[in-house]
Symmetry: C2
Amino acid sequence: MTKVTAQLSVSLDGCYAGPRHDGTGDWMHSAESHGFFRVTRWVTAAMSWRERQGFAGGEHDVNSEIVAESFGAAGAYVMGRRMADGGEVPWGDEPPFRAPVFVVTHRPRPTLLRQGGTSFTYVTDGVAAAVAQAREAAGGKDVAVAGGGSLVRQVLRAGLLDEVELHVVPVVLGDGLRLFDPDLGLDDFEAIEMSPIRVVPTPEVTHIRYAVRGRAPLVLDDRGRGTGTPE
Amino acid sequence: MTKVTAQLSVSLDGCYAGPRHDGTGDWMHSAESHGFFRVTRWVTAAMSWRERQGFAGGEHDVNSEIVAESFGAAGAYVMGRRMADGGEVPWGDEPPFRAPVFVVTHRPRPTLLRQGGTSFTYVTDGVAAAVAQAREAAGGKDVAVAGGGSLVRQVLRAGLLDEVELHVVPVVLGDGLRLFDPDLGLDDFEAIEMSPIRVVPTPEVTHIRYAVRGRAPLVLDDRGRGTGTPE
């Protein structure tokens, strides 16, 4: 059955990039990019990523297999417009997705067809519509929310996310774009409960996959301790 | 050799408690307490904790062993004043520390001697002084920074923390007191690097122990990717 999944590389303080680039100067010289590249360094080094992109070298290792598994599981993708635009040049003629990508945006754009099976369809009627279109296109495989972090948060907030895998990198950035932030719209006595379903330790990064259980109240139990676990 | 260690239960979004209680009304009814009890629920349930506190029941399990290991490794503790004051009544006549506790504070107070080996010494000349006194008292065992999160952050910021274990609970609180926040004083192109040295998965909580490597610059390597690993 098709699951809606996401995976994101984050620092120990939950940032998927440095503080947001304000547009002045080159993004490559920004704190945002430096944080982003630090937390995605393990991916860059992974051989599967390199094979897809046509690079030589790298090693077959756990991290490479995790990247490969991530691409292999997805039948379609949902992506934010900022990420799609930012990746257009770097991904070139044969982007690594090899499946339909549904871009969530307010600004229409004609569908782009790339080599190797990747296409970009610009969906202007919201996150849920993009997820629904991706489900149809996924052919029974999963819908992967490719990013950015802001879109993953929107899908989670909408209650549409089934699983999320965090690639927790052992670095503290201090500040940056956070996956989980007040935009989630949780009130003070409300939380989102998850269950860890797989943990893969490596020296560079700890991979933790969670099933999203859903929103639940934060209540004290009869010992005066917190429960909050949804039934 | 004595290590300075810390361990903290945190939500997926890095919070060790809900948003700070402003002092009006009972702390037990605050969002801060509800978040705190949710992320420490695994501890409450662990039998070692219960044995120390004199409760009956609970199970011997991985989480109980981890709590017991944590207490067993420490020869002395460093603690923040707010935590020490807040725990005074709940911990009663025989607090679970069974070792000297050095409380970091601006306000002097005479040393308190409790039953079972716990003592509270109020250190007014700063975090480094408290850590130094704890080292002397630790008898070759570790110095454990018991908390709160604010003190752990200060010890980390001062470069005095050797290891930190995060008990990552699979819940998103949305907002709260964060262990890693801008008080760390990291600039935009600077990070704190760590290495994961042990990962213990359980259904309720993922335990990840890190060795603190230290501050390092965030730089792009010659592939345009982030390195930042200190030599």
